[in-house]
Amino acid sequence: MDPVPLAAAVVAAAPPVIFAVLGETLAEKSGVINLSLDGLLLLSAMIGFAAARAAGSVPAGIAAAMAAGAASGLVVAFASLTLRQHQVATGFVLTLLCQNLAYLLGAPVAHVPGPQMSPAPVPLLERLPVMGPVIFHQDALVYLSLVATAAVWWYLSKTAPGLVLRGVGEHPAAAAARGVNVTRVRYLYAIAGGALVGLGGAAFSLAVKPGWSRPYGTEGTGWIVLAIVIFGNWDPLRAVAGAYLFVLLQTLGTVLQSLMPHVPTQVFPTLPFPLMILALLLVALADSQWVHRALHRLPSGTRRRLLRTLRALQSSPPASLGASFEQE
């Protein structure tokens, strides 16, 4: 199995997940969780495709999808920040609503051809031995996903507003004491994060999985994105790494299926879900008491090293992340 085409395939298929993961990380970092991701990805994919088809242009579709995402972020923020309703409740209702809206409004454009992103190889760079086909022979959305990853990382670690976001996520009371309008910050990132998720949806229906149908095929991806954000410890680079891992798994699935035809076809597509549970278990393990008791028996040198690894795996969720993940 040739690694280069595999890597190219993974990079090509990753942008939707990357945008979604980046968007949700930003929103959750400020303290708002958008549980409607799964439905939102479907709805924004459908809207992106339908709008692109109606306007005859891909950028129009992308804009429409991002608007849909932003709207969802706004509703979630409004319900939880202004109306003080439970984020999990609102998010869950929205995910069902968005999914149903996507199917209802998308029926006219199901199985219908429409505009797509065209490949945009970078001249000269595309001839490089490995990097060429993998990175520089892709479409504009792939390049955008790489830029977005770098941009979000730079924003969070190097800029003043990024520092404010990190502060709001860590200790909103302290941020408020320093004059930060915490509610306004949360609204901003919920909406911006939603828009990024919408971009992810458009990346599906206009590039990776062109068109629309019912079922679309990405059902369940939104939930995996939420888990990746947790597993990534709300750090954009870690989350994007998780995104690539997930897409790799999916791509490998189709490859492995053809190599192992006797395995039931349901196994590979379902594999991400038990793995998601396993990943979350791992994160919980890092915090658990009996692991620390077991470590106590080891010699202090080994114990220190293991503790440092564990601390890296530990989950430090942003404050007031809608009591949904409070484990006692």
Partner: protein, 487 residues
């Protein structure tokens, strides 16, 4: 800058926290704000720092009346407060904490800020590593960071709210030296405390508050009795401590080791007799809570043995500890000790042994009414516990204890309570001691520890000193041990 507070008023419901307070502090002075718990010091300083708006009165800076809508606005005017619990960002670096919230463009000027911070630190004798993570600093260092940040933002009036609660004596000396240097440069320092000796040592003048009003203002140093008289309107009575005959061994800890992700305690030995009172002393986070929770059976020990009343309960589930007569009363009343949203009667139903799978609500209500009368709780059986005041919640926690308790573990039993309520709590605790209950309690009030304990265990940096006799110990000795001496 000259600061004047004129006729400040603030009420919370029926409680008049500040009832017409007037005071003034001139440039270059350290002004103490002294008072017992609940006298109104916190509210007053919150008003001055912009955290709360006053109901009446005004703040005058250099002759101009000002209004703040927020702490940020107050800082822009030059007034900043360092809280008891520093409001900072633990996982961010010291430099990031310094920068966060300061006016900046898209990209902050880090090199510039770094230099400014070291210059300020050097001027006041602080030493902070800009790249260290904030949660690796001691409480004293976090205070220093906050002070530097406020000074950098142009604050000329610094308010410190009980800054010495969680720092060692040597750090305290450092802090006082730095504060004197700041005052010498023309800044005003407000020093809020209930500790007489510190006020005497540090301040130029002190305003004494009592029950929301100014009881008096004097120059310092002065005769301590004057201050006490102003604070309490009477001499502080020291209730004589009765000697209780000790009974059989109730708790035995052998080579106990207990830990969590942050801290590990090891090699703890203790033997506790019925009727005995043990106080746990030390800075917040030194392991007292760990030990209490381990003795309660909430955390399984990593090593060693726990025996309660002769039974080896090491590693056994919490329910077995409860059955053996162990009771744990946490510091967090609502949300830890009491269940918000549930009524007193429902708590009683949970506390009393159940005979059938069905809840007899009338019986629970009757039993709750009886306990309410006995413990003088302001509430009814149908009252939601989150509607009770702090003092009444503490009474409720005591009222919910079983009749016979072998070992009573209490975290900060009188924190946030006024003197009379605190006295009442201890009266009830001593009653139980007379009937054979052993009490282990943690506290940050050195006087309480010395007055109420038979023996004291001092915790410092994850280590526990062998128990010292409370009747022989002095405040100085205790304070030094907490600061790390002798470990």
């Amino acid at each position: 800058m000259r600061v004047e507070l004129k006729d400040i008023r603030k009420s919370f419901g029926a409680v008049r926290a500040n009832d017409g307070i007037t005071l003034a502090a001139g440039e270059g002075t350290i002004h103490g704000i002294l008072g017992a718990n609940g006298a109104g010091k916190s509210s007053l300083m919150k008003i001055l720092s912009g955290t709360l708006p006053p109901d009446g009165g005004e703040i005058v800076l250099d002759g101009t009346p000002v209004r703040f809508g927020s702490t940020a606005e107050a800082i822009r005017r030059g007034i900043g407060m360092v809280h008891q619990d520093p409001l900072d960002f633990p996982s961010l670096s010291v430099l990031d904490n310094f920068l966060l919230g300061a006016p900046a463009g898209l990209v902050p000027r880090r090199a510039h800020a770094r230099d400014a911070m070291s210059a300020l630190a050097a001027r006041f004798g602080f030493a902070l590593d800009p790249d260290a993570r904030c949660d690796q600093l001691t409480v004293a260092e976090r205070q220093q960071l906050e002070i530097l940040r406020l000074l950098w933002l142009g604050v000329r009036v610094l308010i410190l709210d009980e800054p010495t609660t969680a720092i060692s004596p040597s750090q305290r000396t450092q802090l006082f030296t730095s504060l004197r240097a700041m005052a010498a440069e023309g800044n005003v320092v407000f020093f809020v405390s209930h500790k007489l000796d510190e006020i005497q040592e540090l301040c130029h003048r002190v305003t004494v508050l009592r029950q929301g009003r100014v009881a008096g203002e004097v120059s310092v140093p002065c005769d301590t009795r004057v201050l006490v008289h102003l604070m309490f309107d009477r001499e502080l009575p020291r209730a004589p401590r009765p000697r209780i005959a000790l009974g059989p061994t109730v708790l035995e800890l052998t080579e106990l080791a207990v830990g969590d992700t942050l801290l590990t305690l090891e090699h703890i030995f203790l033997q506790l007799s019925a009727g005995e009172v043990i106080g746990l002393a030390g800075l917040e986070g030194s392991g007292q809570r760990l030990m209490l929770r381990a003795c309660a059976g909430l955390i399984p020990p990593i090593g060693g043995r726990i025996r309660v009343g002769g039974q080896d309960l090491t590693g056994r589930p919490y329910g077995r500890f409860l059955a053996a007569g162990v009771a744990y009363v946490p510091a967090g009343r609502l949300g830890e000790g009491l269940i918000p949203g549930l009524t007193l009667a429902e708590h009683v139903a949970l506390a009393e042994p159940r005979r059938t799978p069905f809840v007899d609500r009338r019986l629970a209500a009757r039993s709750a009414a009886r306990r309410i009368r006995e413990f003088d709780i302001r509430g009814t059986p149908g009252t939601d516990v989150s509607a009770l005041s702090g003092g009444n919640q503490q009474r409720a926690l005591l009222a919910l204890l079983p009749d016979r308790v072998t070992l009573l573990l209490m975290e900060h039993p009188t924190r946030g309570l006024d003197l009379e309520s605190a006295e009442e709590i201890w009266r009830r605790l001593l009653e139980r001691c007379a009937h054979g209950t052993a009490v282990v309690f943690s506290s940050s009030d050195l006087d309480e520890l010395l007055d109420r304990s038979d023996r004291i265990l001092v915790f410092s940096g994850g280590r526990v000193a062998p128990p010292i006799d409370a009747r022989q110990a002095t405040v100085e000795q205790l304070g030094e041990m907490i600061g790390g001496k002798g470990f």
